[in-house]
Subunit: 190 residues, 2 copies
């Protein structure tokens, strides 16, 4: 951020009165430009058939992580709810109609200023098809998940939590809500 | 938003290529200025003593809703996690140290582009004190909650869910996760 979006004068970093952190402030018109984390929301679309559980993944047609696999997910928009966002992203990226269930995971990704939410979902039919941001859309059983080609750590964690809970549910347990903080950028050397 | 924060030229509303909604777009430098919902995060700080459960509320010293009571909560900041935000806001607004428990509620407020999250928490001591954004901080039992003077519907819903679950927990049940969409602005005539 270089200029004030209200008056076009240059902004500078300063700690406003009664605040305790630096913000982009316009000394011409006084506007304080707060910057806050964004929500990325998606679903885990599940198809059960012949006793086998498979999950719908999308191969990304856009950067970042072009060509890697992800659960359908994207930035929440203004004037929608978190469940609206999960359904919309699933339709936009995978052409898939779903019945949405409980919130399943919340993952903090503080270094990129994001919070990711995933809802469990049931795929309503097999009429899915890649949207403009996907190269392919495909169902994967647990054994088939391309773990080394998953686009984002939050998706890998959510899939691991899901298949762990699925095993629990098959033994009479139930799905639960999972949360995790992801601190390191993917591919970082630490 | 009137001007581009990157190049100071006027922005206009337009649907970018491969998008399906209007964004503020700069025709001079090509920057698309996305606007997304913000997370408001807080806690339900609980003090148990002599068999009585009380919750810590703050009387707001700032607009909106000056003079009304709220759970400690505020906008999540970049580079923190959702639990960091809950602890920070509880300390800033109520001077209170807490042990944080599970995520308790998620409330969508689409007309103001917000998602509110509240965590259950245990107050660690009685050394609380109003921060700069609070006039008073006070413990309330269920019977004492000032229901008609609660600042925000998301706080009222969260408190109702909390005391319902507390009754359930006293009968051998447990706390669960709650979600609700709040569509109407407070005081709207519909």
């Amino acid at each position: 951020m270089k200029f004030c979006s209200e008056c076009a004068q240059p902004v500078s970093l300063a700690i406003p009165p009664d605040d305790n952190r630096q913000r982009y402030v316009c000394s011409a018109c006084g506007t304080i430009h707060y910057q806050n984390p964004k929500l990325v929301i998606g679903s885990i679309p599940v198809w059960e058939h012949d006793g086998q559980t498979r999950v719908l993944l999308c191969k990304r047609a856009i950067e970042p992580r072009y060509g890697y696999w992800t659960l359908p997910a994207g930035f929440m928009e203004n004037e929608e709810t978190t469940t609206d966002a999960a359904r919309r992203e699933t339709f936009e990226e995978a052409g898939a109609q779903i019945e949405l269930h409980e919130l399943f995971s919340l993952l903090n990704v503080p270094h990129v200023h994001q919070v990711h939410l995933f809802y469990r979902a049931t795929l309503l039919d097999l009429e899915y098809a890649p949207g403009i941001e996907s190269l392919e859309v495909q169902l994967f059983s647990e054994a088939e998940i391309p773990w080394s080609d998953i686009a984002f750590p939050t998706v890998a964690h959510t899939l691991k939590f899901f298949f762990e809970d699925l095993a629990t549910a098959r033994n009479g347990g139930s799905f639960s809500f999972h949360t995790k903080d992801v601190w390191k950028p993917l591919g970082s050397q630490e």
